[in-house]
């Protein structure tokens, strides 16, 4: 599915990256621990998280993630937004909780990073 579909499913608002809503996304990861994101996430994934500091964007940059969606209605400060903008990483925010966000996306066919590994094998 594309990021635009994800935005609809999660009733999310786009904070930055309106021009990147056509990006294709097939896997996602929901996590608040950045070290675990760096360890387990696949390139091209969407990250769902409740953390909003600039290191979330740095993590996405390092791990080649395609987009970040903040859950629980969180909104990052300007420095996080600016960093995302400069790295072309779209930021969304949804009022849903992490579990519900993941559940909705999984039901609609988005797979997790470990499922994807099995598929490759």
């Amino acid at each position: 599915m594309i990021l635009k579909d994800i935005q609809k499913i999660l009733e999310a608002e786009v904070i930055v990256g309106d021009d990147l809503l056509g990006e294709d996304i097939t896997i996602a990861c929901g996590c608040d621990l950045m070290s675990d994101v760096l360890s387990f996430v696949k390139p091209g994934a969407l990250l769902l998280t409740g953390l909003i500091n600039p290191q979330v964007v740095r993590t996405a940059e390092m791990a080649d993630l395609r987009a970040i969606c903040f859950v629980r209605g969180k909104r990052p400060a300007q420095e996080t937004i600016e960093l995302a903008q400069s790295k072309s990483i779209p930021l969304l925010t949804t009022p849903l909780l992490l579990f519900e966000s993941c559940g909705r996306l999984h039901r609609e066919g988005l797979s997790g990073c470990s499922e994807n590994k099995k598929k490759i094998k």
């Binding site: 950045m34 070290s35 360890s39 500091n53 940059e61 791990a63 590994k117």
Partner: protein
């Protein structure tokens, strides 16, 4: 681009670019009741050479510096602008190509044209010859920039292939400030961008980036700062991360996944869960950690460029 190419590119551009793209859209308008004697001040202050004359929403004429000079030369009495403006208002549509504007400038010899919307006929802007030249130059400059960027990327991507030597080594160094959580990751980010430009395999670049980023986070969290040095060779990327204290008392312990001495504030930011070194180990082909309490710590990360997506999860 050869000079001939450039000329034909300009010819293309006058058909490609729309008037709306180069016009000035924040138009200064003047009311027909304004007096000629006030015109000089307006033109000078707004740094314009003419302006559309608007009676409410309707454009009733155009007044220019030429009209003002003529009025001065004729030594006439002060009067409303409506008496001296040119009422024969020629307009252009915003969606017309530039060539249309060029033709009209030639045909009428005016200094400026009002630009209107084809449907609503609302005034959208004003266009002068200067705007056309500026618009063309900007577009040519963008073309030129894109061309240079392409050449640059092509040149860099074959960097290693293009260099003829028995041994090629590139060195990068990044200084990392301690405890500056906001800027943490800048070093790893810059190293990643540089490796990408060298055209290295994206999986390799990603592994180097993640390992370096985790190491950089450790410098920021636990030390007063340090250096990241990367040595890039065709067969291997070697990253050395060093600081000058406080050092690690028990190396075996910190290598255990989940062991951490990170303060609460670091954990709240999503780090410090004792997974950093473990992550680095997973990304590396070889990793070595040396530390002396009170002196400092050195972390050596080697990533074999032939390994590709070696690590299971990364």
């Amino acid at each position: 681009m050869t000079p001939d190419n450039k000329i034909s590119r300009i010819q293309e551009l006058v058909y490609e670019i729309r008037i709306g793209e180069v016009m000035q859209s924040d138009v200064i308008t003047i009311s027909p009741q304004t007096h000629m004697s006030e015109l000089r001040k307006i033109l000078r202050e707004k740094r314009i050479s003419g302006a559309p004359v608007m009676d409410g929403d309707e454009m009733v004429g155009i007044i220019s510096i030429e009209d003002f000079i003529k009025w001065l030369a004729d030594r006439e009495h002060d009067c409303p602008i409506s008496e001296k403006m040119s009422k024969d208002v020629q307009t252009l549509y915003a969606d017309e190509p530039l060539t249309q504007a060029v033709n009209k400038f030639e045909r009428f010899g005016f200094g400026r044209f009002a630009v209107i919307d084809r449907q609503s006929r609302r005034l959208l802007g004003i266009i002068t010859k200067g705007d056309i030249v500026e618009g063309l130059l900007k577009k040519l400059e963008i073309d030129h920039y894109k061309e240079e960027e392409e050449i640059y990327c092509r040149r860099v991507e074959h960097f290693f292939e293009d260099i003829l030597a028995d041994k090629v080594v590139l060195l990068f160094q990044y200084d990392v400030a301690g405890h500056d959580f906001k800027r943490a990751g800048e070093g790893a980010s810059r190293l990643k961008a540089s490796l990408k430009r060298l055209g290295l395999d994206p999986q390799i670049v990603r592994r180097v980036a993640i390992a370096t980023y985790e190491a950089e986070m450790n410098l920021v969290i636990y030390t007063d700062g340090g250096q990241i040095r990367a040595r890039v060779e065709p067969h291997e990327i070697f990253v050395k991360v060093a600081d000058s204290g406080p050092g690690i008392p028990d190396i075996q312990k910190v290598l255990q996944p989940g062991y951490s001495t990170a303060p609460e504030w670091v954990r709240n930011l999503g780090f410090g869960a004792g997974m950093g070194l473990n992550n680095i180990f997973k990304c590396a082909s070889k990793m070595e950690l040396k530390s002396v309490v009170g002196k400092g710590t050195q972390l050596y990360i080697r990533i074999d460029t032939k390994d590709g997506a070696m690590s299971e999860t990364n």
